[in-house]
C-alpha cells in the first residue's frame, strides 16, 4: 500500500513537470511558475486517486480539472494574474494523449491494412472506443476549467460596479 502511494506521488512530480513545460511554452510570468507546478501535480493526483478508487476516467478527469479551476481562482487573487494563466498549463498534463494516439493508429489501419471483415470490425470497435474516450476527456477538461472561471469573472465584474458606484456616490 505504501509503495502504491509512493508510486502515485512520483507520478505527481511528473504531472508537475509536464505542466511547467507548457507554462514556459506559453510564456507565463515567472512568479506563477511554482504555483503551476503545484496545481498540475494536485490536479493530476486527484485524477489518479479517483481512478484508483475505480472512478471512470472521464469523471476523474473532470474532478481534477474542476479542482485546478477552483485553485486557479484563488491563485489569481494572490498573484494578480488572470486565472486562465494558471489553469490552462495545469490541466494540459491530463490530456488523453495515449487514447488519441491509439485512435489515430486505428484510423490508419481502417483506411489501409485491415482487410478481412473480422479484423475490420474489431479495429472499428477499438477505434470508436478510443476516439470517444478522447473526445469526452477533452470536453471534461475544458468544462471543468471553464466553469469556475466563468463564476469568478462574474465576481470580478461585481467588484468593478461596486467601485464605480462608490466613486460616483
Amino acid at each position: 500500500m505504501s509503495l502504491e502511494i509512493l508510486l502515485l506521488l512520483e507520478k505527481g512530480i511528473w504531472f508537475g513537470f509536464a505542466a511547467l513545460g507548457f507554462a514556459v511554452l506559453f510564456n507565463v510570468p515567472q512568479r506563477a511558475l511554482i504555483i503551476i507546478w503545484l496545481m498540475g501535480a494536485t490536479g493530476g493526483l486527484t485524477k489518479l486517486l479517483l481512478m484508483h478508487m475505480n472512478t471512470d476516467i472521464v469523471l476523474a478527469t473532470f474532478a481534477g480539472a474542476t479542482l485546478v479551476g477552483i485553485l486557479s481562482v484563488s491563485a489569481a487573487h494572490n498573484k494578480h494574474a488572470p486565472p486562465l494563466v494558471f489553469s490552462i498549463p495545469a490541466v494540459i498534463p491530463m490530456i488523453p494523449g495515449a487514447f488519441a494516439y491509439r485512435m489515430m493508429l486505428g484510423l490508419i489501419k481502417l483506411s489501409g491494412t485491415a482487410t478481412t471483415s473480422e479484423t475490420y470490425s474489431q479495429t472499428l470497435g477499438e477505434t470508436a472506443s478510443n476516439g470517444l474516450k478522447t473526445l469526452f476527456i477533452l470536453m471534461a477538461l475544458a468544462v471543468g476549467v471553464a466553469i469556475p472561471m466563468l463564476i469568478s469573472r462574474k465576481e470580478t465584474i461585481k467588484k468593478i460596479r461596486h467601485k464605480s458606484d462608490a466613486d460616483g456616490g
Binding site: 511554452l25 506559453f26 507565463v28 494574474a81 490530456i95 489515430m104
Partner: protein, 242 residues
C-alpha cells in the same frame, strides 16, 4: 490606444469576454463609454464621451494568434492600476510599450523544459527510462523545427506538420532499428507539445459565454491544428513502417 489593448489581448490567448471586460474597465476609468465588436481577425469600437458630446469609431486588424500569457496578465494588472492610480493616457501607452517588449524565456530554457514535459508525459503514460529519453529528444527537436519554421515565415499550420513529422520520426526510428522494445509511449507523447490547448479551452469559454461565433472560429482553428499534427504523424509513421 484601446484598440491596441484589445487586439493585443485577442491575439495572445485571452477569451472574448476578457477582451471586452478589460477594454471596458480601462475606458470607464478614463471617463469614456465604449461599444465593441470583437471578431477573431479584427476589432471595431466606438468611443463616446460620457456626456455624449463627442464620439469616434475605429477598426483595427488583429495580428495572427499566438500565446503569450505574460502580456495577458500584464494588461490585466494594468487595467486595475488605471482605476486605482488614475493613470493618464500617456502613462498607459508607455506601459503597453514596456509590456510588449518584455522578454520571452531564453530559447534554450524553453526547449529544455518543454522536452522535460514530453518526457514526463511519457512516464505518466507508463513508459520506461529509455522511452523517456527518446521522448525528450523527439520533443526537443520537434519544437526546435517548429520555431525555425515560424522564423522562416512558413504557414503556422505547415510549421506544426513539420514539427509533428520530426518528432514522430525521431521517436519511431529507435524502434525501427531495434534499440527499444516498444515504441507506443514515446510515439504517443512526442507530439503532445503541439496540442492546441489554448484555442480549444478558449473556444469553450467563448461558447459558454454566448460569443458563439468567436467560439466556433477558435474551435475550428484548434481542429485544423489537430489535423496538422495527425498529418505529420501519419507520414512519419508510414516511413517508419509502424
Amino acid at each position: 490606444m484601446l484598440l491596441d489593448i484589445g487586439t493585443l489581448l485577442m491575439s495572445n490567448g485571452a477569451s472574448t469576454g476578457r477582451v471586452r471586460t478589460t477594454v471596458n474597465r480601462i475606458a470607464e476609468a478614463l471617463g469614456y463609454e465604449v461599444e465593441l465588436l470583437i471578431t477573431s481577425r479584427s476589432l471595431m469600437l466606438t468611443v463616446t464621451e460620457e456626456n455624449g458630446s463627442d464620439y469616434t469609431s475605429s477598426v483595427r486588424r488583429t495580428p495572427p494568434h499566438g500565446v503569450n500569457f505574460k502580456l495577458v496578465s500584464g494588461i490585466s494588472r494594468l487595467s486595475w492600476r488605471v482605476i486605482e492610480e488614475n493613470l493618464t493616457v500617456e502613462q498607459i501607452n508607455e506601459d503597453i510599450i514596456r509590456l510588449t517588449s518584455l522578454p520571452h524565456y531564453p530559447r534554450l530554457v524553453v526547449l529544455l523544459l518543454v522536452a522535460l514535459a514530453g518526457a514526463s508525459f511519457c512516464r505518466l503514460f507508463g513508459g520506461d527510462a529509455i522511452e523517456m529519453i527518446i521522448a525528450f529528444i523527439a520533443t526537443f527537436s520537434g519544437l526546435f523545427i517548429r520555431q525555425e519554421a515560424i522564423k522562416m515565415r512558413f504557414n503556422p499550420y505547415l510549421a506544426i506538420v513539420f514539427a509533428s513529422f520530426t518528432a514522430t520520426l525521431l521517436s519511431g526510428l529507435p524502434f525501427k532499428l531495434g534499440l527499444s522494445g516498444t515504441s507506443e509511449h514515446a510515439l504517443a507523447t512526442s507530439v503532445l507539445f503541439l496540442i492546441p490547448g489554448v484555442p480549444l479551452i478558449n473556444a469553450l469559454t467563448d461558447l459558454i459565454d454566448g460569443n458563439t461565433l468567436n467560439g466556433i472560429v477558435r474551435g475550428v482553428n484548434g481542429l485544423i491544428i489537430s489535423f496538422a499534427i495527425a498529418l505529420g504523424l501519419m507520414v512519419a509513421m508510414k516511413i517508419c513502417g509502424i
